[in-house]
Point group: C2
Chain length 104, copies 2
């Protein structure tokens, strides 16, 4: 079993892929033996955004704190703590932080 507090995981900048004021912490990955799903926490400063991109794997987001906008396939939704969104494979998506946000 792996057991880690998310703040003990080194944050990685994601600016090189179009993200802004954003770091990502990879908590559980294939390196831990997880065959299907990577667990990450994305931390966005106010005004930050995740990359606007798509990829062949799906995303499932849960908002831990803060407020922002989720844009999925050119549709915008307001995000607040406790919200979950599902992004299907190959669908364009990004998150923009109105307040500092943390998303898992």
């Amino acid at each position: 079993m792996k057991h880690i507090h998310y703040l003990d995981q080194e944050p990685e900048k994601t600016e090189n892929d179009g993200a802004k004021k954003a770091v990502i912490r990879h908590l559980i990955t294939e390196k831990d033996g997880a065959p299907n799903f990577n667990m990450r926490v994305v931390s966005l400063e106010q005004g930050g955004n995740s990359p606007n991109h798509s990829h062949p794997w799906e995303h499932e987001f849960f908002v831990l704190s803060g407020r922002g906008i989720g844009e999925v396939d050119q549709r915008e939704v307001e995000l607040k703590p406790g919200d979950a969104i599902y992004v299907p494979p190959n669908i364009q998506h990004c998150i923009r932080a109105i307040e500092a946000m943390e998303v898992i």
Copy 2:
């Protein structure tokens, strides 16, 4: 895209499988098209527990709130908000709530 607040999802009791004082909310499942991973929130009352069981799929937990004990393969770890644990496939596991807990 599916977009839902977790409290808007009907909670389901899980008492029939050895769980106690526990409900589960299925937020994103294969019914939403998610091929690999189910996103659920488990809410445990103080003194509650998830089932002590194993299954062929892996689990990745993140503690949203509260405190408790995670037991994985007969090893116990203390759980607090922000902790992540990885449970490999076919490994016995359960969570016991010392305080009311929510786990995703």
